[in-house]
């Protein structure tokens, strides 16, 4: 089959690789119908995530049709159209039973690196390095889905592929930021990043009853899209002092909940950006936390900050003093998607959650390297590129 393979820093190729097969009784094989780029793939492409190997198939946000099931799969059968969570959960360990699916204790067959670096491993993740299990990614014609009963979710009739697709990762990630960030009716919420995850976090905050949602980015197309499709207020951080702007818009308090949806390659302004970039570039594990720093400084005393953007190493100048003295609650996680995906699919089906606008570009799998160039450089208003292997 065809698959998009990581070959090195900034290098992707489309290769012929062996078809996946059933390796465990609870596996299913899914024919990929749609699979999308994600900002966290850019960290792999940039060489900032450890334990990638040349030839690894990338991609983790996808939807498809089940074509084969192992003998122990009970809830699915060939022909089912399913969205698959990017995180792999076993569904039966303590973490999964407590809805902390990205901390699954049985789905990462190569946990040693994460345990050495972080003192504990995450769940397995499709197409996201050998630290996260070394599973093949979804930018391929077919993919093996372990523990299929727990990781694949039927798509309701009438929901388009390009709408359901984003309930695999972007929508549940965004929802988790608002939910576990503690958004309550009447809150003011600020979201750093107007990519797909940031937009979904902003929309989730509104649906959870926030009174005011303010999204922050620098790309005019993304700001306009967030204003139009999400209905959030927007702030261009290159045109204003974000901290002053947020104080002014919140009666001097600062947002109650701040959601960071940017991650380790955040852009700063001026010499700070160049300095942090120079430290990060050799792959030292030093990351650029500009958005996170700003979120912590902006948050009202006693407020909450949720980190959705992916970080893998360490950061300098983390504003620990602000966090401690303002009494903030700071929390983060890879997405616990399974607890939200069925509810999100229902909301998409009812029209409460609109996701299809995120698919700004649709391409065949063969054009993935060019698609990633466009996505990385945000050319042509690109928010997400969706690859359709059947094109």
């Amino acid at each position: 089959m065809k698959a998009v393979c990581w070959q090195g820093v900034g290098e992707l190729t489309v290769e012929r690789v062996p078809d996946p097969g059933i390796l465990n009784g609870q596996d299913a094989i899914v024919k990929v119908l749609a699979t999308t780029t994600c900002g966290s793939d850019l960290h792999l492409l940039g060489g900032y995530v450890s334990s990638m190997r040349a030839g690894d198939v990338i991609g983790h946000e996808f939807l498809g049709e089940i074509v084969e099931t192992g003998p122990d799969v009970r809830r699915h059968r060939p022909g089912d159209r399913v969205v698959v969570c990017s995180i792999i959960g076993c569904g039966r360990c303590w973490a999964c039973r407590h809805d902390l699916w990205s901390l699954c204790e049985n789905s990462n067959p190569t946990p040693d690196l994460a345990e050495t670096v972080w003192g504990g491993a995450t769940a397995g993740v499709f197409g996201f390095s050998h630290m996260m299990g070394g599973f093949h990614g979804s930018h391929a014609e077919f993919i093996r889905v372990p523990f299929a009963d727990h990781n694949a979710f039927p798509v309701p009739e009438g929901v388009e592929d390009t709408s359901a697709l984003f309930t695999s990762d972007a929508a549940p990630t965004g929802w988790m930021g608002a939910d576990l960030g503690g958004v309550k009716p009447g809150d003011v919420v600020a979201v750093w990043g107007c990519g797909a995850v940031g937009q979904m976090a902003a929309r989730a905050a509104m649906l959870l009853g926030a009174d005011q949602v303010i999204s922050i980015d620098r790309f005019p197309e993304r700001l306009a899209m967030t204003a139009r499709h999400v209905g959030a207020e927007v702030v261009d951080y290159t045109a204003t002092d974000v901290l002053a702007e947020l104080r002014e818009r919140t009666g001097g308090r600062g947002p109650d909940v701040c959601i960071e949806a940017v991650g380790m390659e955040a852009h700063g302004v001026g010499p700070d950006h160049l300095y942090e970039q120079a430290k990060q570039r050799p792959g030292t594990g030093q990351e650029r936390p500009f958005a996170l720093q700003e979120a912590i400084l902006a948050c009202r005393p006693g407020g909450s900050v949720f980190i959705l953007g992916v970080f893998a190493g360490a950061v300098d100048r983390f504003p620990l003093g602000a966090m401690m003295n303002k009494g903030l609650t700071v929390r983060g996680a890879q997405q616990h998607g399974h607890r939200y995906i069925p509810m999100l699919l229902d909301r998409v089906a009812r029209g409460e959650l609109v996701t299809s606008h995120l698919a700004t570009h649709i391409m065949p799998l063969d054009e993935a390297p060019a698609g990633y160039d466009m996505f990385r450089d945000k050319k042509d208003g690109c928010v997400r590129v969706v690859f359709r292997p059947d094109m």
Binding site: C5, Q7, G8, V9, E11, V17, P18, P20, L23, N24, G25, Q26, G47, Y48, S50, S51, M52, R53, A54, G55, D56, V57, D72, C90, G91, R92, C93, W94, R97, E105, N106, S107, P109, T110, D112, L113, E115, T116, V117, G119, G120, A121, G124, G133, G134, F135, H136, R144, P146, F147, R281, P282, G283, T284, G285
Partner: protein
């Protein structure tokens, strides 16, 4: 020129890693120097009742196939059952220990793997197989220089962090 820069950065990175490793040797006990560390219990917490871990006192495989000392305790709260194990056999020392680690044949690593597998078998009924490795050696640049150094160091880590 680029190769020279990459070489210098890699060398510097290696120096930093070695320096930090040397410094870490004085921070606390290590399995290499302290015999008590070599006999530390390894454990997993399994989300089930103690009776389900060793029904009728029979240890689950693959742990039952190893020469191990085992302890089973109820975990606090709703967390299930703590299963502890450590090898009975004498541990390799010095160079033999290093070689056993490099070959993946160290008795503690075997126990560690068995504990993981027991947990997965009891909780899910299977041990998840990784996808086949499609990677291949490539002469071209693959990762960033320091990331390579980190990967090399991690690949040779003692393999005895949390379970």
């Amino acid at each position: 020129m680029k190769r020279v820069v990459i070489g210098v950065v890699s060398l510097a990175g290696t120096g930093v890693v070695v320096a930090r490793w040397l410094a870490s040797r004085h921070r606390g006990p290590s399995p290499v120097r302290d015999p008590r560390e070599r006999h530390r219990w390894m454990a997993v917490t399994i989300y089930c009742r103690p009776d389900d871990v060793a029904p009728d006192g029979r240890l689950p495989r693959p742990l039952a196939d190893l020469d191990v000392e085992v302890r089973i305790e109820k975990a606090p709260g709703d967390r299930g059952t703590e299963l502890y194990a450590r090898p009975r056999m004498p541990m390799p020392m010095g160079r033999a220990a290093v070689l056993a680690r490099l070959r993946g044949e160290h008795p503690r690593e075997q126990v560690r793997t068995a504990l993981r597998q027991v947990k997965s078998l009891i909780e899910t009924g299977e041990v998840l197989h990784p996808d086949p490795d499609l990677s291949r050696p490539r002469p071209a640049r693959i990762g960033r220089p320091m990331a390579k150094v980190v990967d090399m160091a991690l690949a040779r880590s003692a393999g005895e962090e949390r379970l």
